[in-house]
Amino acid sequence: MLTKNVLKSLLAAVVLLLFTPPLLLNNGHSAPLSPTEEIIIGGVIDLSGPGSNLAIGSKRCMDLAIAEINAQGGIQVGNNVCKIRGVVEDDGYIADKALAASHKLVGQGIKFIINFGSTGPAVQTATEPAKALFFPIISIDKILINKPYTFRCYPTASVNLVLIMDYLKTSLPAGLKIYVVQPDDVTGREVREVWNRFAPAYGLKIVGGDLYPPNSLDFAPLVTRVLTYNPDILAVRSIKTGASVAKEVLDQGYKGKFIVHTDYPSTWIEDVGSDKLGNGRLIGPSPNLMKDVPEKIRSLSVRYYDTHKEQANVIYTLTYNYVYLITQAIVKAGTTTDTGKIKNILETQTFDLPWGKVKFGGEEIYGRPGDGFFPVFVSEYRHSEKATRLLASFTAIEAKDKYLRAREIK
């Protein structure tokens, strides 16, 4: 009996230990990492979940940037030479987990946090009060409203889509019917809003839209609904579920095109089927990273492929860009800990990043604070070449100008 009771107690203890929610372990009271000549860049990244196909590549590029900087001896901040270290937490594309992860990082005294995925708003609830500088990879505008410690340098859905719509207007027949199918998350809702807002001005007709649960099991019913509207173009997402929708809709005989608002990984093409996509049926903002982009990004793409035997894409390179942004801002500010000072530098200076020069303008320049515009590419996927073909490209300034003009159209 004694043995059985002991075993039961042990089992209960093991189960409780496993079952303890992350928040209980991450209440912000963890001991801060010991101060060294080391700068820690935190990451809250969805290494698991529906966006993991893009997020894992992003983490790898973050690691590559850190390794490069350290290989060059680190960075000089005042009289100190500092090495960089990355600490990444998986949020699984879930807001609660992102919140717990960001509290953990902030509690450890980490001042610079990069986030990939739609959990940005959750992470901000920890970073802004702690005055930790936050660098999200998310499209929604509200991520920057009244968030002074947040800076974004990212090809946003709104800017990408406006330029894609601009291309469609000039290159394809008028009156194309668009159906918007997005997962029901913050980005999906934003993308749907952007389409609804801007499409009429470009002669495009939105015939319908659906937000599906991100963990949907079967897309056949949804796809059947979509096809009853007979769209010419389907706006989908470049994550796993978007590929499932595209695959299903092609199976059911869809003959039109697809548009994605962000770069798509090669796994997305494999999931859908390169042969089914054919030539010119997938339009998106994906440049050929081996030729259409600045030299530093081309070089990154080669190294990424050599290391991971997989093509990099634009989304992956954003964390790489952010690491260089953070280190340059620290060097210019001459401090690793005074985030107020670094914030001022970010707001006022120009940075020479792998993706080109960036200046984070204020409301009067970019329409919202903390935004640094990004070059935009419009391309189509070609199965015959197993690559994208550039249709149009815009520098960050051109993209900004076109977007701001589009916003003025009533």
Binding site: G49, L211, A220, L222, K240
Partner: protein
């Protein structure tokens, strides 16, 4: 405009969805019926089935049929271990068994992501090609038909087993009246283990069949478990006929609801149905009251 073609497609989608749910829900309801525990890790058994198929098809280049069988066998063995060393101690104790099965979820997920990594895995289609019915404007991928046939065969096989074999009758006896069954000489431990084997194998089969469509992700188990739980609640905990009818109902609701009204509204209707069932007929369509 919804015509005959769309109605036919919606019906086919509904049947497919229902069959998938049946595989999950039958195992779950059987386990509850015999052991009076809710196995929250049932979704993870399904996930293991999916990963098993991926590993054998993609890494070892095995035939899909063989991969499914081996996967089912492997997960069934895990079910045996789980039943003997975990669930048996908490049989008919709902709360402790719930806690244990939730702990099991974390264990299995951690094992899978350590062993297989975080990236989601893609499994090739079972078979390529379509069944085209031009008159109705229908294009059904052949792999959906194969999945449907396998699912239906498994469900029918289970029903025949439960109705026509002595072991099946013994399982039904235990689920209807434990004390009476024991008095008749039926070994409860054996029935519990057999039920766990069947339930786990069905879950693994469901996962393996879903893998080409959904891919493999170590978090894929829970959303499926949630839907299976709703089916079990609607049909009645421990009731096989209830699970069958409820699966059909949910499958058609999701199919027609999503196509006609959109995913959000269809899911909302489903949740409202579950709430109403719990409020007005908590034992479900066919279930019994448990004390």
């Amino acid at each position: 405009m919804i015509g005959l073609s769309e109605i036919t497609i919606m019906s086919i989608n509904g049947v497919n969805y229902a069959l998938m749910l049946m595989l999950m829900a039958l195992g779950l309801t059987l386990i509850f019926g015999v052991m009076h525990i809710v196995n929250m890790a049932h979704g993870e058994f399904m996930m293991l089935g999916a990963y098993g198929v991926w590993a054998m098809v993609v890494r070892l280049n095995l035939d899909l049929g063989l991969s499914l069988l081996v996967s089912m066998l492997g997960v069934a063995c895990l079910g045996v271990i789980v039943e003997k060393y975990l669930f048996r101690r908490f049989r008919a104790n709902l709360l402790p068994s719930l806690v244990v099965s939730i702990g099991l979820i974390l264990l299995i997920q951690t094992f899978v992501y350590l062993f297989f990594g975080l990236e989601y895995k893609t499994v090739p289609r079972i078979i390529s090609g379509f069944l085209r019915i031009e008159r109705l404007g229908i294009n059904i991928p052949l792999d959906r038909i194969v999945i449907g046939v396998i699912s239906l065969s498994s469900v029918l096989g289970l029903i025949l087993f439960l109705r026509n074999t002595s072991l099946g009758r013994a399982i039904r006896a235990v689920s209807e009246d434990v004390e009476g069954a024991v008095l008749q000489g039926i070994n409860l431990n054996t029935m519990a283990m057999l039920t766990m084997i069947i339930g786990s194998a069905l879950a693994a089969l469901g996962g393996g069949l879903l893998a080409p469509t959904l891919g493999c992700d170590y978090k894929m188990g829970f959303p499926i478990l949630l839907q299976a739980l709703m089916v079990v609640v609607l049909g009645g905990m421990g009731s096989v006929p209830g699970a069958l009818v409820a699966s059909l109902g949910v499958g058609f609701l999701i199919s027609f609801g999503t196509t006609l009204l959109g995913s959000t509204i269809a899911d909302t209707i489903l949740f409202i149905s579950v709430i109403l069932m719990l409020l007005f007929r908590p034992r479900g369509l066919w279930g019994r009251m448990f004390h």
